[in-house]
């Protein structure tokens, strides 16, 4: 049986750091529909639009009616465990060095049978719940855990399973860098990370000569350190990386610079440049300084480097003219993040983008309700880490805009141009 995860011991400097290996990443194009669902934290399967049949593994036509109109549809996540085993000597090195792996066949409530990773408490005949998660290679896999009466498992109990931990970036015992302590999400984020059992939290603070309201409150906290870090200054980023890059398992990039306004507003060019400096170049400077070390530490013990999170805005994806230049910088940050994600993936390190709607902060003062609270953003960010997601949308406005963009991007563009927020 599993044991609670212990805080990692200090490394033995005489031992080689284990190099990151990855599980097999090759998938068919159809199978990446599931990657998409897993990236968003959904449980979904291919469903036939003609006859409704769920099918798995991913196919090019419905096995029931041969329709090719197979769509990704949210599916019931329950099932029954038919059979279970443990792979003791897998052929693949990634699995071999982590063996044994519990796997099982589950008859899903939606119909198909799935070969999945299995919580070791599951027994054949048990009712189970399934999740679609991204593995260390960033590809979708199924994980099943007990869900019968009296068998439900807490998040903490689940995290005792090493297989489970490979499918997320739980902050527990991990050391975390928050890159811009001046982001108003800071205090709720620190609280949420503490609640999740994070290790040391390192907070970057730019322009330390300017007042910082939370200095005393943070100084009074255990395992919190404030360090100088200015994302617009190459040397500042590099200097911090020299001291801390090898001691950070989760990097949370909170860089932001919101100056609302359409094109042609007062000093919009300067504001746009500053937003790019922080959101785009800031991420780039961080990537150059921190990513190589994090990649190398992707398998460094039970709590090795695990994730990079960019806290972004929904305007990164929905380019509201009222936030014209801000949207540009946000979109640039997303574009860059995909290159960074591909790099980090070499070490099995995840990259998540959290897209928040307008918040209750000063620069969204006149933005229409509903707005999202900083604590909701912090909670969603920590949840995305635990579940190993790649993107999450926080707040009703962000979810609404995202859904409308999925439905018809041109309609959304016209409505936003006309000032119709919803």
């Amino acid at each position: 049986m599993t044991q609670p995860l212990q805080p990692p011991r200090r490394k033995n400097p005489l031992e080689r750091t284990r190099l990151p290996l990855l599980p097999p990443a090759k998938r068919s194009r159809r199978a990446h529909d599931l990657t998409r669902a897993a990236a968003e934290g959904r449980f979904a399967l291919h469903a036939c639009e003609s006859c409704g049949t769920y099918s798995y593994p991913p196919r090019e036509a419905c096995p029931a009616c041969l329709s090719d109109r197979l769509v990704l549809r949210d599916a019931p996540d329950g099932g029954e465990l038919l059979s279970a085993t443990k792979a003791e000597v897998p052929a693949d090195n990634y699995f071999r060095e982590r063996a044994p792996w519990s796997v099982g066949l589950v008859r899903m409530d939606g119909g198909p049978t799935v070969l999945c990773f299995l919580n070791p408490r599951c027994r054949p005949g048990d009712l189970v719940r399934l999740q679609l998660r991204l593995d260390r290679a960033g590809q979708a896999v199924f994980y099943a855990f007990p869900a019968g009466k009296g068998q439900a498992m807490s998040e903490r109990e689940l995290s005792e399973d090493p297989q489970w931990r490979e499918l997320g970036a739980d902050p527990q015992h991990r050391r975390i860098l928050i890159t811009d302590g001046r982001n108003p999400v800071l205090m709720p984020l620190v609280a949420a990370l503490h609640g999740a059992g994070a290790g040391e939290i390192i907070i970057g603070l730019s322009e330390s000569w300017k007042p910082f309201a939370h200095r005393d409150a943070l100084a009074a906290m255990d395992k919190v350190t404030i360090v100088p870090l200015d994302l617009t200054d190459e040397r500042s980023v590099i200097d911090l990386a020299r001291d801390h890059a090898a001691k950070i398992e989760i990097l949370i990039n909170t860089a932001d610079y919101l100056r609302p306004g359409p094109l042609g507003g007062a000093s919009s060019l300067n504001a746009a440049r500053e937003a790019m400096e922080r959101l785009y170049f800031g991420q780039l400077r961080l990537a150059e300084a921190f990513a190589p070390v994090m990649i190398a530490r992707g398998a460094d013990g039970d709590a090795g480097a695990a994730a990079w999170v960019n806290l972004l805005s929904i305007y990164a994806q929905v380019h509201d003219p009222a936030y014209a230049t801000y949207s540009g910088a946000q979109a640039a940050a997303v574009a860059l993040s995909q290159g960074l994600r591909a790099e980090l993936a070499k070490g099995g390190v995840r990259l998540a983008n959290v897209f928040a709607g307008p918040t209750d902060s000063e620069w969204y003062q006149t933005s229409a309700q509903p707005k999202v609270s900083q604590s909701a953003i912090a909670a969603a960010l920590v949840d995305a880490l635990k579940r190993g997601m790649e993107e999450t949308y926080v707040g009703d406005t962000a979810k609404d805009l995202h859904a409308r963009k999925q439905r018809n991007p041109k309609a959304l563009e016209r409505e936003l141009a006309a000032g119709l927020e919803g």
């Binding site: 330390s208 000569w209 007042p211």
Partner: protein, 263 residues
């Protein structure tokens, strides 16, 4: 140099140490505080230094950087065009600045004791008159430098920001009008960020140093240091800003030539 050259005596003085050179310049670095404006207004870019190469793949035998900064960062010079009051004057930008103004005598008024514990200290006309009573009248065409020892502070203590803005010493409106109109100074220099007091926006007129100096075609120097090494009178200031086309100011190296006897 010919012995009869007007500069031969000067060269000798430098060689013998009879005249020493004091550097009044802060190091131009990314983390040096800059002027803070309300965030909805345009902002000065801070100093940024990004490496081009460092004897590496990007340039195997050489080291160099790209730098960027606003015109008003670090130890810097304010030209008359910087303020609306000086916008229509002739030769009001750094590129048209008369070279004759780049070397001028300095009067140093020591306010360090008064400023030590008082970020809101204001230099007044009476204090200048008292200084003149002791050291003689300020000659026209001189720099007046306000010594506060503020440059010995660092970081937050230097910027001294509160929730109602910065609290740093500076001149009141009356003294600026007096210095410009009655003493015809070349310019006014401080150790703080700005020739005006931190709270100078609340003065009448707002930012009186900028208002009167630049309105009369005079100059400002700020973020100076080492003013404690200058005599009250007798030093010469070398202040030649970058020749930026239509520039409103520029970071620069400010040097003081100081006679040994005057120290």
């Amino acid at each position: 140099m010919h012995a009869d050259s007007p500069l031969s005596g000067f060269a000798l003085a430098l060689a013998t140490g009879a005249v020493s050179i004091v550097d009044l310049t802060q190091t131009l670095s990314p983390d040096f505080p800059t002027i803070v404006m309300p965030p909805e207004l345009g902002q000065s870019m801070p100093v940024r230094i990004e490496r081009i190469s460092h004897y590496d793949a990007a340039g195997p035998a050489w080291y160099w950087n790209n730098i960027s900064f606003g015109e008003h960062t670090g130890t810097h010079f304010d030209a008359p065009i910087h303020w609306f009051t000086g916008r229509d004057l002739a030769n009001n930008a750094v590129d048209t600045l008369p070279t004759a103004h780049m070397i001028a005598p300095a009067c140093v008024i020591d306010c360090s004791r008064e400023s030590a514990d008082n970020g809101d200290f204001r230099l007044t006309r009476d204090m200048v008159l008292a200084w003149e009573a002791m050291h003689g009248q300020i000659t026209s065409g001189s720099w007046v430098l306000m010594r506060t020892d503020w440059s010995q502070r660092a970081g937050a203590a230097y910027a001294n920001l509160a929730d109602d803005g910065p609290h740093t010493p500076g001149p009141d409106a009356e003294v600026m009008r007096f210095l410009v109109e009655e003493r015809a100074v070349l310019g006014f220099g401080t150790e703080t960020i700005g020739t005006d007091a931190g709270q100078g926006g609340h003065f009448q007129p707002p930012y009186p140093a900028h208002h009167y100096l630049h309105g009369a075609g005079r100059y400002g120097l700020q973020c100076l240091c080492n003013l404690d090494q200058l005599p009250p009178m007798g030093a010469m200031i070398v202040a030649a800003p970058l020749k930026i086309q239509n520039g409103s100011g520029s970071p620069l190296r400010v040097l003081a030539l100081v006679p040994s006897s005057g120290r």
